[in-house]
Structures are given as C-alpha cells and as structure tokens.
Amino acid sequence: MASVTQRARLGVPRAPRARTLPRFLWALPPVAALGLVFLHPLVLLVRQSFTPDEGGPATAAYAEVLAAASFQDALVNTVFIAAGATAGCLALGFALALVVAFVPFPGARALGRFIDIFLAFPSFLITLALLFVYGTTGVANGVWTAATGAASGPLDFLHTPWGVLLAEITYFTPFVMRPLLAAFSQVETGQLEAAASLGARPWRIVRTVILPEALPSLAAGGALVLVMCLNEFGIVLFTGAKDVVTLPVLVYTKAILDGDYTGACVVAVVNIALSVALYAGYRALVARTGRKGGAPRARTQQ
C-alpha cells in the first residue's frame, strides 16, 4: 500500500496490473456465490410476491393476504410470543448471569461450556422434552393424577401460545446470558467492593453499579432474541397445535400444504422485513457496545 502511493507520488510507473490483482477481485467469488444462492433467490421471492397467480394488479396478493384473518392472527401471535419470550429471557438471563458472575460457585466454568453446547442443539428438542414433562400424560400431570385420583391433570397449556412461550424462553435465555457474562467480566470488582463497604445492599449495587454497565449488552441480547423468536419455526411446529400459527408456520403451511407460493411469498416478505429491520437495530447496538467494551479488553491483553 505504502509503496504504491510512494511510487505514484514519485511519478514511477505503476507495476503491471496483471501480476497483483486488485483487492476487490478477491472478494468477488464468495460474494458471487452468496448472490447466486441467497441474494438472487430473495429477489425472486419478492418478485414472486408481486406476481399474483390469477393476474390483476401487482399488489393483488398483498391485498388478499393482509386482509385475511389467518394472517392477522399469525402476526399478532408472532409478535406476542416474540415480545413475551424476549422479556422472559431478559429477566431470567439477567438473574442467572448475575449469579454466575458475582456469586461464583464451583462448576461455573463447566456451566459456560454447557451453555455453548446447549446453543448448538436444535430448538425443537425443548418442545419434545416439554411434551414429556407437561404433556397431557406427562410427568407433572401424572404426579397430579396419582396424588389426587383425578381422571386428568390440570396442565394443558402446551398447545396454546403459553407452551410456545415457555419453550422459547427456555431455549433462548442462553443467548442473553452469553453477552451479559462478557459484560459482567468487564465490571471491576473494586467498584462492587467499594459500594459494599460504603454500606450499599446487594440489590442497590445491582441497580446502580452493575445494571448501567450491562445495559448495552442486555439491549443487544434482547434484540437478537427478538429476531430469533420472530423467525422460530421448529418449536411451534413440534407443539403440533392447530391454533398457534406464527408467520414462519404460515409460510410453511401456505407453500407446502396449500401450494400457494405467491401467498407464502407475501407472508415471507412481511416476516423478512420485520426481522431484518430488527436485526439492523441489533447490529447497531452491538457496534456501539463493541466500541465501548473493546478498548479496555485490548488494554488488558497487552
């Protein structure tokens, strides 16, 4: 780089282009591959959503799908479940990460490894497990019927949005815990000791010292979980509930079971728009926390 600019300044003719390819040429093959299998198909998906099967104006499919009760229900369900699961994950993840970071116990390191493995497993396993625990013939109801002699147990929420909510909170909480644990490792224990020796109770230390420090990571983790909940398919599919339909499930039903590609594309476009907008917000948050948290870490490494 420096030598090229120096040569240019000195008026030395540039080296022949053929020997050193321009840098952007190296970036072309992977970007072209991504374009072929991801970006171009997405463009085609959007185009398909604007070409109704029965002809008519380009937005005919939109008018039809957006007005349908099934779509509106799915949208409300999706947003309700995603928002609820995110709130749950944030509360639970914050509490758990707080204990792991500041009330350390033997085995906390193993827990970190366990979380990493947990994140590599598919989400639908959680729903499968919940079927055995809270299902109509599961552990909880079995214990209840054995104890009371009733014909059936009281728990029958797995096929409702609440079942999906429980599964999503279970599965996505580690996604909040990871950035939080990273942020907590940056909090200086000296600050906590100082606050404690000045008489602050633990709850006050959490509120006034730890929470402000963790807020960016909390926001970033929350945004990520919100996006993933909006996109979650396996958990909802495995509950097997006919009346819990979210946007991804509606895309699947329309495309595969009904064969209505255009309608499916319309729903997919709405889902993509929601998720990508939220994801852009998440990236902006991470960029900000990365700048803030990056400097001290780099200093301690040297």
Partner: protein, 265 residues
C-alpha cells in the same frame, strides 16, 4: 463477590439451581429417560426397553442419520470455505468494503430460515437451474444458513490476530500466498476447527428450511424426528433425538480435541 454472608449465598445458589435445573438440565434428562421407556404417566417413566434403539438400528432412521451427517459435512465444509474466503477478502479490503461484505454474510441470520427455504424453492424451480427435489438444494440451504456463523467466527479471529506475524513474514520476503498458507491459516486453525464444529452441529439440527425443501429420498434426521413424533410415537422420537444429540456431541468434542492439539503449535 456480591453476597457476603454464607447463609445468603447458599440461598442464592439454591434459587439459582431451582431455576437452572428444571429449565435447562431437565429437558435433556427427560428425553434420555423417555428414549428407554414405553410409557410415562407418573413421576418416573416405566417399562424399560431398548426396542426404540433396536428399531433405529434396523429401519430408515439409520439412513436419516447418514443423510444428516453427509449434509452437515458438505454444508460445513462449503460454509467454512466461503466464510473464510469472505472474511480474508473483507479484511484485505478494509473500511467500507469490509462493512458491506460482513453485512451481506451476516444477513442469512436475520432472514427467517423458512423464508430462505422458500426463496430457494422459488429460485431453483425455474430454468436455468432446476434443483427442486434434489439433494443438492438441501445442502445449498444448509450452507446458506451456516455460512454466517463460519464467517462471523473467522472474522472475529482475524480481528484478534496480531498483525506482527504476517508483517514480519512479509518483511522477510514471503509472498502473500505463502504468508496466507504458512502463517495466517495455521494461526487461524483453532477458530477454523471450532467454526466447522459449530456449523456441523447447526446443520445437523436444521429443521425449518429442510422442511420446505427435502426430497423423499433425502430425509435428514430432524425431519424424521418430526415425522415420528407427529404420528404420536413420542418415545421413538425421543430415541432418535438422543441419537441426534449424541452424534452432534461426538463431532463437537472431536473438533475441540483437534483445537486443543492445534493450540500447542
């Protein structure tokens, strides 16, 4: 240390375990226990049996496991190549070019997997590329979905890499290709293997896009698990899930062994 009195600390830990165990450890224990049972209508499963596993060894499920493993292998190797190449190219570009490439390669994380599947279905059901109903389309979908994770972990590792190594190699007269092959890639090896393991695991468990695309002769394990539990055979489904988790764990641990060996270099 936030809580000083040992009594309070014990209370916090008790509350922690009370939250943690039912939520995170119980699901896996329950699936494992169910895979060896015939009925479960009390506190504990009953009717211990190995039939579910014997059925797996005989039936189509073994094919599903092989299908999943082959798909995951192909997808993770392709994703690793594309992700690493893109990360290296992005780092060389720097500035705005790096930002654009990073954003493009992270985009598949934001797009719902079901929509990725649908877009491939729409794109490859028409000429010039007719791939609908082939095995390749499943591999392509998995590759698209896991490339983001490969790219992310490799570019994070590149950012952490001390530039002094490649600079001194270049100053001693090594050509860029040589620096890449003998300096950069060996230094990146731990994160490359970790990324491969993660991609493999994610691809093994991929369900959303696969449900949109799988042809009848290429049925990955998650689809088989769904088909099994959907027709009510929950206990066979649990056994299949245990096989899926075990296969994933074996690969993850194998990869982490390579990583620890590589980090000695």
């Amino acid at each position: 240390m936030l809580v000083h009195s040992s009594k309070a600390r014990a209370a916090v830990w008790a509350g922690f375990l009370l939250l943690l165990l039912p939520l995170f450890a119980l699901p896996f224990a329950v699936i494992l226990a169910a895979s060896f049972a015939t009925t479960w209508s009390g506190a504990l499963p009953s009717g211990p049996t190995l039939t579910h596993y014997q059925d797996i060894a005989r039936g189509d499920s073994l094919d599903a496991l092989v299908t999943s493993a082959l798909t995951a292998l192909a997808a993770s190797l392709l994703a690793l190549t594309a992700g690493t190449w893109a990360a290296l190219a992005a780092q060389r570009l720097g500035g705005r070019g790096k930002k654009v490439i990073d954003t493009l390669f992270m985009l598949p994380v934001a797009v719902p997997s079901v929509a990725v599947g649908l877009s491939l279905l729409v794109a490859f059901s028409q000429p010039p590329l007719l791939l609908n109903g082939t095995r390749q389309i499943v591999v392509i979908a998995h590759t698209v979905l896991v490339t983001a994770f490969a790219h992310q972990s490799v570019s994070a590792a590149l950012d952490r890499l001390d530039p002094a190594y490649e600079q001194s190699a270049a100053a001693l007269g090594a050509r860029p290709a040589y620096v890449l092959r003998r300096v950069k890639l060996p230094l990146l090896l731990p994160s490359l293997t970790a990324a491969t393991g993660l991609c493999f695991a994610l691809s093994m468990g991929e369900l959303s896009a696969t449900m949109m695309l799988y042809p009848p002769d290429w049925l990955p394990l998650p689809v088989q698990i769904f088909a099994t539990t959907d027709r009510g055979a929950l206990f066979s489904g649990a056994a299949l899930a245990v096989v899926l988790m075990a296969a994933t764990l074996i690969v993850l641990f194998g990869v982490s062994r390579i990583r620890t060996r590589a980090s000695y270099r």
